[in-house]
Symmetry: C2
């Protein structure tokens, strides 16, 4: 049915009416006290979300812009960095680092498997010239979560290196206590856990990251975080920001504060669990290592069935948009996004639709209704 | 009165309800055929607006991001460029060029005066190594319009140089026929003539600009236009774009096409004329050279009166937001934005409010009502 699509992709994610309505307000001047007040409030709430006393800066741009900003504001041409690569976003940060002339040591894991923290430890112990470790916390392309806490712990013992993390699909979904874990740079994007449309992105910076910034010589202007810091200290922006997106951000963050961090994390955990168990009950396989699975995205191996056929069928019949596999995984997996403004009903709906679709395609390997039964039991029990 | 503010600053500019409503739609996936269709339609209309057969690429970011992209995608470290500087934005492009290690020759004019095209001609004739000329067409900070057509003509005769223009407050306000004038790069921003909120920006690229891009070696990733071109050829984006901003862009551009380019340009011309004549009739002075005044912004010298007092008074009493002077012009000028979704009523309203406020402050040097009389005569006569 037209105009009744439900998004269950890992971004854009569903947006509450309140947030959409905020978006539709007449814009105001970005150099006014009224807008400064919005910047002040959202900045305070962003710090709460990141669990940091450091700076959280907002950029009008995508998550990639934020991650690039984190990299190019703390490093210099020729600097040695370690990049973790076990999915499409890991690959992207390697490309960014190389585009700016960094010397990149890549630690790989097969797509679907987590990065091995011990490999990071080994290089960090043996190379005192490493300036940064760059990893993706929740790998959106595969549904794997990497052990950011452990890797960050190893980075902390290194004399020079800082920890730069893409937390685009983990922040606002699971615990990422920036200061506690000693993460120096966290990048994220508005269309994920923030429950708002794409267009804003965020870079959190520790004091160690700012110290590194003092030495950084990579060229930049729009993504020069020192400009954002200077303006941000006056609750302002160096360039015209997405004013209406800020209206939405304010509402989204208020809703997050009302729910509370623990409740948000628990909700994502329950949704992941219900989704995973239902998928297995239907006779399908989880693509990502179950002990290292993202709170936000469940990737499903479809084996002999073309995943794109399942995805298309679910969109056509039930108006639910799921994500496909990227690159070599196209047709081999599909991905359910359960990130941001997602409730128990959405999970039940997605599982029902997947079950009905597999049945229609003659590919269901379990009695119809089993997936829903398993999901509903988990969802209701843990209430 | 709260919630009833009228924006008459040079950006953000007023936004039609239809555009705001589009912004408030539920986001859709940016990798879907439905979104590709929006990219296709908006790209076609952007080409119409730029009067070009070349590419027009959309970036989620501010006008500065677009202008920086234009510069760093066509030039290399150490390249010689000429920058025109007669206001805050001219200054900014000098900073961008220097941040990337370009050798910058600056041609200045006093703020409020236009750049002298003959100075560009002189340097271009004597230095065959110049790779680009960078100017601001409509200088938002002063309300001056520079002679882009003439400067571009001089650039065309040069063997190597390309013409890069900031048309942020001229595009969609006056004629900027990209192909006819031989402009190679045009940057613009959504919160100006496009009648939508800030958050998207646009870079138009000629074939000569793409040829220069092949040689360009400056580091970039988020602002790498070759990625936007590659994705754009499939009606897609390299990164998650501001999906809801695209909904708004589509509506704004449709409204512009319904009005037609000539009508849009005439409307801005009439509004400029009515504003200028009314200001003079009130005994105030225009800050910018009248023969070189922007179609979008009228800057007013307040001489012995503090411009900030006038501006604050108009905001408090009449809920109209005017812009102040920037840097050394703070308190010395105020600026009326008449750009984008502005009708005759808005002009009459602004003039009435300025007149009433000057009268209240005891600073009106003409009989009250004279400004409104002059403005209304011009507005009604030319209908």
């Amino acid at each position: 049915m037209k105009e009744k699509l439900t998004l269950m992709i890992p971004g854009p994610t569903p947006v509450p009416e309140k947030v959409l309505q905020a978006l539709a307000k007449h814009p105001i001047g970005h150099r006014t006290p009224e807008f400064q007040e919005i910047v002040r409030q959202t900045t305070e709430m962003l710090k709460w979300l990141h669990q940091t006393k450091g700076d959280v800066l907002s950029i009008t741009g995508s998550g990639t812009a934020a991650m690039e900003a984190g990299i190019i504001n703390t490093l210099s041409h020729g600097d040695k960095v370690i990049c973790g690569e076990n999915g499409k976003f890991g690959e992207r940060w390697v490309k960014v680092a190389k585009a700016y002339g960094l010397k990149v040591e890549v630690i790989k894991a097969t797509w679907g498997k987590p990065l091995n923290p011990e490999e990071f430890k080994h290089i960090l112990e043996n190379d005192k010239d490493i300036r940064a470790v760059i990893i993706t916390h929740s790998e959106t392309s595969t549904g794997v979560i990497n052990d950011l806490q452990k890797i960050s712990n190893y980075v902390k013992t290194h004399p020079k290196a800082i920890m730069i993390a893409d937390c685009v699909t983990s922040l606002g979904a699971c615990n990422v206590p920036m200061d506690d874990w000693g993460i120096d740079v966290i990048a994220s994007g508005s269309q994920k856990g923030y429950m708002m449309p794409p267009g804003l992105s965020f870079v959190a910076m520790s004091q160690k990251a700012w110290d590194a910034n003092m030495e950084s010589n990579l060229p930049k202007f729009y993504l020069d975080l020192s400009s954002y810091k200077k303006a941000g200290d006056k609750n302002s922006n160096p360039f015209t920001p997405g004013v209406n997106l800020y209206f939405a951000l304010l509402e989204g963050l208020k809703m997050m504060q009302e729910e509370g961090l623990e409740n948000i994390f628990n909700r994502h955990k329950r949704h992941k669990k219900a989704t995973q168990e239902a998928i297995k009950a239907m006779g399908l396989s989880l693509f990502a290592d179950e002990n290292n699975s993202s709170p936000s995205i469940t990737a499903i191996s479809t084996k002999e069935i073309d995943a794109e056929i399942i995805r298309k069928s679910i969109k056509d019949d039930f108006d639910i948009l799921l994500a496909g596999g990227q690159d070599h995984l196209k047709g081999k997996i599909f991905r359910i996004g359960h990130l941001g403004f997602v409730n128990d009903r959405d999970i039940l709906t997605a599982i029902s639709a997947i079950e009905a679709t597999l049945n229609k395609l003659g590919k269901l390997k379990a009695p119809i209704g089993k997936g829903v039964a398993v999901a509903s039991e988990i969802l209701l029990k843990s209430l």
